[in-house]
């Protein structure tokens, strides 16, 4: 989200020079812009398949547009990508005015989950805290001060009134618990690190995010996702088989994609989780963006590095923390998995011929093949799920996958993530000590 805004600026780090009030207002503009995202999908896709469970959810809670020409837009961001320290008095314009460009397709909730799993949020929270309360870190430049101020204003205080970000209130007072609640419902997963003791609110128990979710937990997401990757890898192994047996079953892979799609659609009924997904993805994208380059706060804390994982490692060391041991894989996986899950939700891979794009070289699908290969490698490395192991017995199970799992009773508190059969404590490998002091 913020990374998309940054891409419009030169250099991208100029986004940190924008006033937090403007950034906050821009989020509302981006939410409204989501309504301009047209249906993506081929003609075989059922019409009206939404991104957010309910297409009308955007209009239902966005700011009202001016009723007549000339009436100012309510609370515009006034951002001018060419001059970040200015205020135009209008919503941010399209890159190629006066045409209307496609709206931003927000990242999938899995993006927020994976970035949060790196420990980036907790490490940078501690950086902001230390810079705000004492002198345990290096003195920082004015540019870094601006980052600290904006980060604190946007993400570590009550959100502005009537903002799309306002998913924090008396009814759900803890942002960490709120995010985990969304991850738990959509994926049956939770970040590998616990909520740091410093930030645990009185009266909120560990595992509070699992309370009152009813039957709405996709407990079998991980099992089906891993099975999908395993089957795609099987297809890749057999891609050039001219003779002999070929265990690849494209229709089974399509069934897996459909099961994942339906499972996520169950959690999105009527627009559920749409606003939360938008807010959480935006939040984590800010922290991801901070680590994507040697921006002033990174430089001032001597945490320069070749990539986000290395910078995070150094920043964590400055504040006595340890990020996820597989943060590098998680950072890289976040973008790839986000796009693929969006495509699956749009039924792009709902037929046998279409899923062949995931593992067969059909001449024009090199990008997809590369993305899929990376996802398999990164997921296996990050989680320890042995995706490339060959199944014993039949390559496919007896029964076809179903989106069930949403109605199953969630595991008791303390179980960090459901592990597919035969996988060695997957999230344990991912966990390490990230987020711990």
């Amino acid at each position: 989200m913020f990374r998309s805004l940054a891409r419009r600026m030169t250099p991208p780090a100029q986004v940190f020079d924008i006033h937090p009030l403007q950034l906050s207002r821009w989020l509302d503009e981006a939410w409204t812009g989501g309504a301009l995202v047209p249906d993506v999908g081929n003609s075989t896709t059922p019409a009206g398949t939404p991104f957010l469970g309910e297409p009308a959810i955007i209009g239902a809670i966005d700011l009202p547009l001016p009723s007549a020409t000339g009436v100012p837009f309510p609370a515009p961001s006034g951002i001018n990508p060419a001059a970040p320290d200015s205020f135009t008095g209008a919503p941010i314009g399209p890159p190629t005015p006066p045409l209307i460009d496609p709206g931003l397709v927000a990242d999938h909730l899995v993006y927020a989950f994976l970035i949060e799993s790196t420990g980036a949020f907790e490490v940078l929270a501690e950086v902001v805290r230390r810079l705000s309360v004492g002198e345990t870190l290096n003195p920082i430049s004015t540019a870094a001060h601006r980052w600290v101020r904006t980060t604190e204003e946007l993400f570590f205080r009550e959100p502005p009134l009537y903002s799309i970000q306002g998913v924090l209130s008396e009814v759900r007072p803890d942002q960490r618990v709120n995010r985990r609640n969304a991850y738990w419902r959509m994926f049956g997963l939770e970040p590998p690190h616990p909520v740091p003791a410093r930030w645990l609110r009185p009266g909120i128990a560990d595992g509070a995010w699992k309370q009152d979710v009813g039957d709405g937990v996709n407990t079998s997401f991980r099992e089906k996702w891993t099975e999908l990757l395993r089957q795609v890898w099987l297809g890749r192994e057999n891609a050039k088989n001219g003779i002999g047996p070929n265990a690849t079953d494209r229709e089974y892979i399509a069934s897996l994609c459909d099961a994942l799609r339906d499972m996520m659609a169950l959690r999105r009924r009527g627009g559920l989780l749409a606003r939360e997904e938008f807010a959480y993805v935006s939040t984590l994208s800010w922290f991801h963006l901070t680590l994507e380059d040697n921006v002033p706060i990174v430089v001032d804390l001597s945490a320069q590095g070749p990539g986000p994982a290395e910078r995070l490692q150094k920043l964590a060391a400055r504040v006595g923390m340890t990020p996820a041991p597989r943060a590098r894989e998680l950072f890289e996986l976040a973008d790839l998995m986000s796009a693929l899950l969006r495509a699956i939700e749009l039924s792009v891979f709902s037929s046998g011929p279409s899923v062949e794009l995931l593992y067969l070289d059909l001449g024009t699908n090199a990008t997809l093949l590369t993305d899929m290969n990376k996802i398999i490698d990164l997921w296996q490395s990050a989680t320890g799920d042995r995706v490339k192991d060959r199944p014993s017995g039949s390559a496919q199970p007896l029964r076809l996958p179903t989106p069930s799992g949403g109605n199953a009773a969630p595991p008791p508190n303390g179980v960090r993530a459901p592990a597919p059969t035969g996988s060695p404590a997957p999230m344990g490998l991912l966990a390490g000590q990230n987020g711990h002091g």
Binding site: R3, S4, R7, R8, A30, G33, L36, V37, P38, D39, V40, G41, N42, S43, T44, T45, A47, I92, P94, P95, T96, P98, L99, I100, D101, P102, G103, L104, V105, D107, A239, K240, N241, G242, D335, S338, A339, R342, A343, L346, V348, F349, S351, P353, S354, E356, L357, L360, D361, L362, G363, T364, N365, T367, L368
Partner: protein, 164 residues
């Protein structure tokens, strides 16, 4: 006793088949390439690529400017100005451009005919404006798809589109 027919071989077909075998031996490729993927599958591939664009996955740095050959611009005149498609070089075999404003069928299909822009001596890439007849400036174009003419088979994703 069955009478043996005297088949006259079709030398053209035979030669074409031998050439195909020779090509396959010289350039071995997966089995799937022996036939063109169905149009729906090719469309799914383009769907994924469009999604990546709309999610900002494609590096943007200056690309919109450098690649200029492609894109669209505001039309002129009229109460409801129609969009104008500005095209530079297109891939080989492309005979039409499908302009999508929503899922399903394209809002408009632009036949390219013998369109073949050349690079000038100065190195500038010539572009040609195609006046759209249906799509107006206030419509969001989500996908430009390069197609073959005879069966409208999707060959490649068109010029990338800017994101918010």
């Amino acid at each position: 006793m069955a009478q043996q027919q005297n088949h006259q071989p079709d030398w053209t077909d035979l030669l074409a088949e031998l050439k195909r075998i020779a090509d396959a031996l010289n350039n071995p490729r997966p089995v799937a390439l022996s036939t063109e993927p169905p149009a729906a599958a090719a469309g799914s591939n383009l769907d994924y690529l469009v999604l990546r664009q709309l999610m900002g996955r494609v590096p943007r740095d200056g690309e919109d400017v450098k690649v200029v050959p492609a894109g669209r611009k505001r039309g002129t005149g009229g109460s409801a100005p129609k969009a104008v498609l500005v095209l530079g070089p297109v891939p080989e075999d492309v005979e039409e451009v499908a302009v999508f404003t929503q899922r399903g069928e394209p809002a408009e299909v632009v036949p390219l005919g013998t369109y073949n822009p050349q690079v000038s001596r100065s190195g500038a890439i010539a572009t040609t404006d195609f006046q759209l007849t249906t799509v107006t400036n206030d419509q969001v174009i989500t996908r430009l798809e390069f197609r073959r003419g005879e069966d409208h088979y999707p060959l490649a994703l068109g010029p990338r589109l800017p994101v918010v």
